[in-house]
Symmetry: C2
Subunit: 377 residues, 2 copies
């Protein structure tokens, strides 16, 4: 019943999200999509012009060698010793998390997650009957985004990091946004400190483009065969063509230059959003992100995600509802994620004006409802 | 322990298979790969030159609309009424089977499978704790390739088809090779007869090229949301770029012409293989395939897949070992799959000569071993 109710709410929320996404009048502060205009269309099309028959054929489950070597070399530069044999190419980070989960936990287990957590991760854990919890002591595994978290855009503190490493639990380290710090200081992954129990997840979805579905999982050496088998069972292998395109692209372009460009690009959008929020909604609680695509906002208002999403949509702005980022019962105060990634800086003030109107309306409706039900305000 | 032993054997077999695949001296009668020379490299590269930013962005879990419409229209032409909304784009057929399995069975269930069955399907079922069985009465679901089976290349008989439809069980219908009948008579899928309980699986891996990883699952209307959710949890969505490429390709090229060409192409290879087998190994038992990529061979010899594979490799030919296609304990007589798809007709006689030598050696080794252990021949 709990599941049915949750699923019913999600369907309504999904319907609202889809309606907003298809309506060009709605300014998107939702979705967390990378900006279309950053995609290297020409360079990728050029790589595409060089394809041959072997780029269209079946491939081994672990993925193409050159790409796995590139990933291992990048992690090496960050202090982690990774053999290319222990890298598995996946369909984006989500599949890497799924495979890691299947290797380090089973039905009935509990996984420690951040208080505000990547929603598709939470969905996945629940669907595999692995309960998201906030206490390390209650957990059999850990899911974390140590360098840049989604939705907060913030790194773990030194203490938090030390606590995770002090536990002996397997760790799923989701590094999806790690290279999108505004200051470009991408530090060592947890993998460097605990290679025997960290399942390291990476992706090109945020740094290159998501439609390629190129992600990866680095597993402890003893899990290599299990990881390949899990991938094979799930869908045989990652896309040969897009792996080939990425290899050709990386052989010609400077990925570091690209990351520099992206860091400035998103830092500007982030500043535009946070400035507008401070100017127009000074009472909202949020912290300045260190990177990534979004700001996590918490309020003291009673939380009704569906109502808030519908109100925002009426005012021509979309947000991501807080409940989907939370692992517990949905009785916490209103929170939401605001993505700055897909809106130009010039539109940010307008979007935040609409958000302010939506919040005002939402508060008014709540006060009315409480008066109607006889609850003192 | 059973699993460990099986897994150990598979690792040895996999190692042999990888060694054969990387050795240009070994003639491949294994693998079931489509022929590289059939891939429409130029037409796909042309489609690629037309990509834009939206072809590189995130996409909804169900996949792109035009592609889902094309799939629904093709099934409509074969007598199945399919709403595009009930089509889910997957990473090839394997993921479609995985999602279908998750929707129609659970741990502890049993699934009815053919006596000789697609190996990655068997692997998947076992990994989800769903036991492959041969009796419909013992099963809670059915897996079948009704039009062209892998490894036999043969359709179900009318009686077999009727028996499956007479049961009230959910059916996973794997249609991967259905459009590769040599006579080009692709009949109605089971989906047309039982749309409320058939999970229909299709793919472009055999008809276009596998590296694109474009497959699909058609689900009963009531399962649509569950299917989308399962896809989202697994890896968010299928590859946007390759879906876009396929849409552009299909808008310009005649898929029917392509299927005609492929049917003649593979029919010629099939005939070259079966002729060579009849000429050089007249005692082997197999039936002429009606389509697909392979011939399924059964013998009376004692079965030792690892030994046979190693012997074949020494003689410069690779085959797919029978045990991987079988669901029971591996104590049945020697069987194997011979793929004609990736070898030109001119090389087939040579490959079968090597196979004949390998079989001769294998028989001799077996007789020696039986004599040594005191068993009468």
């Amino acid at each position: 019943m709990e599941v049915a109710v949750r699923s019913g709410v999600e369907t309504v929320i999904e319907r609202l999200q889809r309606r907003c996404a298809s309506d060009p009048q709605v300014l998107p502060l939702s979705g967390g999509l990378p900006a279309d205009e950053t995609f290297p269309v020409q360079a990728l099309a050029h790589a595409l012009s060089e394809i041959g028959p072997s780029d269209l054929q079946y491939e081994w489950p672990e993925g193409r060698t050159e790409l796995r070597r590139w990933i291992a070399a990048r992690l090496h530069a960050r202090g982690a010793e990774v053999a290319p044999e222990n890298v598995l190419i996946t369909n984006g980070a989500q599949q890497a998390i799924d495979i890691a989960l299947s290797l380090c936990s089973g039905a009935g287990d509990a996984i420690a997650v951040p208080k505000a957590c990547y929603p598709a991760g939470l969905e996945l854990f629940r669907s595999r009957d692995v309960t998201p919890v906030h206490e390390l002591l209650a957990a059999t595994a850990i899911y974390t985004m140590p360098l840049i978290a989604n939705p907060t855009g913030l790194p773990l503190s030194g203490e938090e990091r030390a606590a995770l490493l002090a536990s002996s639990l397997p760790i799923i380290e989701d590094d999806a946004y790690a290279e999108l710090r505004f200051d470009r200081l991408t530090s060592a992954p947890l993998l460097a400190a605990a290679p025997d129990r960290v399942f390291h997840v990476g992706t090109l979805s945020k740094t290159l483009c998501p439609g390629l579905r190129v992600g990866w999982l680095v597993v402890p050496p003893g899990e290599r065969d299990n990881a390949r088998r899990a991938k094979q069972r799930s869908d045989l292998q990652a896309n040969t063509l897009t792996q080939a395109i990425v290899e050709k692209y990386l052989a010609r372009e400077s990925f570091e230059d690209r990351l520099d460009t992206l860091a400035s690009f998103y830092a500007e959008r982030c500043e535009a959003l946070t400035d507008a929020l401070r100017r127009k909604l000074p009472w909202l609680r949020f912290r300045n992100p260190a990177g990534g695509f979004a700001v996590w906002v918490e309020t003291e208002e009673p939380g009704d995600d569906t109502e808030f999403l519908a109100t925002a949509a009426r005012h021509g702005v979309s947000v991501d509802p807080g409940g989907t980022f939370r692992s517990g019962a949905n009785d916490e105060p209103l929170a939401f994620r605001l993505s700055f990634s897909s809106l130009p800086p010039s539109a940010m003030g307008d979007a935040v004006n609409r958000l302010a109107d939506a919040l005002f309306d939402y508060q008014k409706q709540g006060q009315k409802a409480r008066r109607a039900s006889g609850v003192a305000a």
